[in-house]
Point group: D2
Chain length 402, copies 4
């Protein structure tokens, strides 16, 4: 996990310990549905966690801090998870924060030494970390998941579109051009490890890296986990389309107070995030006249408890103007963590099954899915269920059940 001591990664690590200890159930895991029974997914209990992180600390301490600030983790879970978390923290390695922006720089003031290496050596050192991790724990596979804070929105160099020109820039050590997320993605895919981009950062969302993924035979997916307000948007918007109601305005106002919120307080980082959130909506509605706006504001007291208000103004028959509002009060990381476990299971399954390139069946998990496709959540779920059915059928054909 990249950004391994962030809230989401901390809840993933703690949650896996809680699952093993029988103190947490599968609530929140989309892959726990009956559709996925006998589809060959690995057991979450078989997962081993490790990660890169720019800040210091360990998972036991991160879990304590999270619980203090946000509730959710009970004393019982914290106590049961502690030994496992301390042990797993031995697998934390210093992260890369190249071109992650001022906001992230402030959170981890001592830029990690790794940032000072030439690009090729950064890539090599990351790959070395993962391979050692795999060897140390005798793992069948390593899935790299980007859970770091959103990088600033920046124009992507044209050379990033093609694998050859991107590789050339890497060779030329153009440190002004590569954000950390692209380096991680390149390193993972190049080394043959599936890659999941749960953030709004670029990561592997480049034609060149999809090309590399296909060449290396690794599946990858992303971008930007669809956990809360955008999820609801992509669930509701098709209703207006289905009823032929004209959406005049759709205003979304998100308040949050976690580290993500702090980073998004910087206008440059905010822009990237807001784009993904708004595009999903506009794609479904398909009406250029709809006025839409997304705001994300930092409200420190809320911590990880995202509160969103959406106001939808729409027109019906005979010009009647009506409205719908929703208020979402969700614990962001508790919503994201199980989806990360879902995606790790799906990426491992895909890799084991010989699939490569964009995992198109994972659209339901993302605000800006690799490989495009509809943003309609229900249509995305249909695609996921169809994939699960294929996998179940493939499993059923196997001579011996696992």
């Amino acid at each position: 996990m990249v950004g391994a001591l962030g809230s989401v990664a901390t809840l993933v690590a703690t949650g896996l310990e809680a699952l093993k200890a029988g103190l947490a159930g599968a609530t929140g895991l989309a892959t726990d549905a009956s559709d996925f029974e006998n589809a060959g997914l690995l057991d979450p209990a078989d997962l081993v966690v490790g990660g890169h992180e720019a800040r210091g600390g360990d998972w036991a301490q991160a879990a304590e801090e999270y619980a203090q600030a946000n509730g959710v983790l009970t004393r019982e879970i914290l106590d049961a998870a502690k030994p496992g978390l301390l042990a797993a923290s031995a697998d934390l390695r210093p992260g890369v924060t190249l071109n992650c922006g001022e906001a992230i720089r402030k959170l981890s003031p001592l830029a990690p030494d790794r940032d000072d290496l030439p690009l090729k050596e950064i890539v090599a050192s990351l790959q070395r970390d993962w391979r050692e991790f795999q060897a140390r724990h005798r793992l069948d596979d390593v899935i790299v998941v980007n859970l770091a804070s959103s990088e600033p929105d920046r124009s992507i160099p044209r050379e990033f579109s093609y694998l050859e020109s991107l590789a050339a820039l890497l060779e030329e050590n153009r440190k002004d051009l590569f954000p950390a997320s692209v380096l991680y993605a390149y390193a993972a895919i190049d080394a043959g490890f599936p890659y999941v981009n749960f953030t709004a950062s670029i990561g592997s969302s480049l034609p060149s890296l999809d090309d590399l993924a296909v060449r290396r035979g690794v599946p990858h997916c992303g971008r930007d986990g669809k956990t809360g307000e955008t999820l609801v948007k992509t669930v509701l918007a098709p209703m207006f389309v289905g009823r032929n109601l004209r959406v005049l305005s759709w205003e979304g106002h998100n308040l949050l107070g976690n580290r993500d919120g702090q980073v998004l307080d910087a206008p440059e980082n905010n822009r990237a995030k807001v784009k993904d959130k708004d595009r999903a909506l506009r794609d479904i509605l398909g009406d250029p006249a709809t006025h839409s706006r997304v705001r994300i504001d930092y409200v420190p007291s809320l911590g990880d408890w995202k509160t969103a208000w959406d106001f939808i103004h729409f027109e019906g028959f005979l010009g009647a103007r009506m409205s719908m509002q929703f208020i979402w009060q969700g614990c962001d990381s508790a919503l994201a963590a199980p989806l990360v476990i879902d995606l790790v299971r799906l990426a491992e399954l895909a890799h084991r099954g010989g699939e490569a390139g964009a995992m198109k069946h994972t659209g339901a998990f993302f605000k800006a899915p690799y490989g495009g496709g509809t943003h309609d959540f229900h249509a995305q779920m249909e695609a996921l269920r169809a994939y699960a059915a294929e996998k179940r059928a493939a499993e059923a054909r196997k001579p011996v059940r696992r």
Copy 2:
């Protein structure tokens, strides 16, 4: 239209005039979607309206009163529609209110004479009205739509399950047993006219009447138009299922002030409505532990502007308890009227195509669809779109286009 001077029927009549005058568009008509292009649906401009009503008055006056109380209809529309509405009012006939409950009785204090006739003569007189209407306007077909207020929730006699025993009770003139909606439904289907039950009343939602529909070769559909809060419920609930989030409680509070609300202020009429609203939700969630409740309260000042607040309490990963709320402020009749036009188009198309019995593809329109099936709105829309595709294909195979 049964309940022809009610808000919904009044907006149907006025809306059709506005469409003809070019003062209203197709916003709100679900069948105006591209899926239905070239599927053989008739043009709304070809519809002629008439109806049964227990209260006195005419459509021009009803439209004026509606506009005064609720806005929506502009002066321009009212003026343009007036001549057509006055002319159409010549096709209003006295309605039947047998066993409709005290609340409805109060709205139309002079029980119509027709209520005093023997059951068989009531049926015959309704059929006569429709046939004369058809002849007078040289219509290809007549679609009977129930838009009257919800009848009280009452236990259904066992004999209503079978066509033979139901017919026997009719023969025996058991006026204590038949609510008006069943008489209208029986009369329509028996006479070979498609029947649409847009209310929560029994209407043709009996195995015996489905049997009759199949025998007479007529399609019918219902029950209880899904226009607002329940629509949103059946759109949102699958999201919680898809994400494996456990819904602990779902409380819905509806406020409305129209004649429907007034009738629903009577506990007996309220019960029927609330049942349909709640069942749709529970079927999707499928978790017997979910606490759910629906309230419908009469708030006179709101008129036709239904305001609903839903509070959804749910649990995610690691026991995190979160909530979602939505507030729906919709003009009930402006939401319902275009759906009535949709259903009339679909019923006519089905009849013309030789279909009989429950129109299973219309589940998306109802809270308690005839023929059962999922309550998941998106799955229902898939079924409707598949039906539209079949019809398009059938149209394409025809030697000459209509």
Copy 3:
């Protein structure tokens, strides 16, 4: 405290321990305002708690259960408070539940033996408990606070209006007529102990008991703590009056899941509560045409977290119809507990100052204040501040400062 192991009383006991341990501040205590500095109020740290309770258990366990269900109390507070709570639990005595209704009976299935005594002996035994408590801890005063669940709404016998006739019924041992709250109130006041009625039950809200209070020289106050939705109502309603906006409808919908909510699920107990909530609003608005309704629904998953939605429909200049809504999500007992401490301080101060009868300056704390007066929260606060100013002045005149 009567109902000593209920949520409010448990938070009072735990909160006082937390205050002493320096783990809680004065947030939520209205008497901590600068107006009350040097007004002679006792220090909360000088309070000693004890109580009557129909159910078994102790405060340490009650606090644990509360924390498990509702959060709020941290492990640190629970650990620090435990020894004090265990010690204080030695002062718990079996309560009386006479005529408290079925809902309360279910919570404490074994009716306490005390219920079987003749009325006069019940009164005497309660007084004995308090006197022993006072002697054991060498207390200057004992304040009796009713924190038990709301008793059912019942017609009050005419004889309860006059002290003489009430005393006669007591003498005649008319156990069918006396609800527990009246017995506690009578016993306290008769014994010379100030009495605070924080619930919607009758308690001392009878002319006869006010008469007794004046004769015995004890202050008393109540009824029904104004902690959440009603508080907001009495803050907002004067705004509509001040702006001459006509409130057409005010609908309040309360959801809660604690023991109070469970008891209020019984229609008879619900009625009493709803009355108080609605009356406050109607008194301020003063417009008989306003449509108002209050609902309280039991939603188990919410525990102590009351969630209320109020919808206010109002008319402005030129007939413009507008609306305001509010959503209140409060932890009921954490709102009530500091007010209980406030009232104990105020009752002790009044008693010490020789005041007797209804404490008219405490209107801001109650939904149905003894002694009547405005429900306008701001006007009530003015009265409280004026009282504080008098007390400050009186303190300043004293030769030696305490």
Copy 4:
């Protein structure tokens, strides 16, 4: 009225006609309260309207456009008001828009000729207009009310603080320094006409102009009418103070679509408005740690229907974190128009009574009251009621009643 064809001024003009025709009541007029009976206020029916406006048009047309876009004005009112509005439109004169910013310039592309005059001539020409208006209608007094869109937030030259230095800049024709609102205010007060600043623009909110008001013996008041979200804020915030609940965050999000909203879409104009809204809140709460933010977003489809969502996060006893939200859906101009009539009545009464300078009793009407004082709405209403009582007493002392 300055900005005479804006929504508020149009509703003032139309509303006065409706009042005269008996088609509107006094709902929304704060001065219609019993406190002001026999306090000597003039009858609204005696008011005559006129105004300055940079755009072309007349009041009848403006009222039609308003009704089309926002409802509210019925056909009956429009028809009844038309003759009076057309007649009154003869008293419209070209306005000044000097330094009103780009956003306002866009609404009235042809800068009025008057902008090209030297400052002293602008002032003189405005005064001439008012005097002619007064003479033409034989009026006892003329009250100048600023209802134009908010001017951009700009730093105020130090010279504006003193009457002498401000006059010197005027003399020097420093057209770069004077925004239109200051010119109107100077002109009105200098000519002896009371001035009401209902907008967030500077107007007469300068020590120098207060000085001039005192010298010329004219009352003036402002700034920025408190009509909706801020009104509710200043009603609710004292509740949190009174209960000693700590407000952690207060986030306000305003959506509106009228011309005001369009102008506020320009960041420079937005800033001025947001400042006033936020300051009122912070002054009441008095806690520097409170996080607060106000957003005003332009949502064209809403027209004059302001929709605001406020989220208040607060802490109670034992650190319990709770929240309150409110949603305000108000018709902005229908809320403002009657307050304008109130202020005109109050300004006339004050002038007639020989009062001069800031009308401190009008704090309840403004977001940033001249003369300072509390922002607590209820305390402001107390001050207003006390003033009314004085006036009633003065009236009662008069030998002959008017």
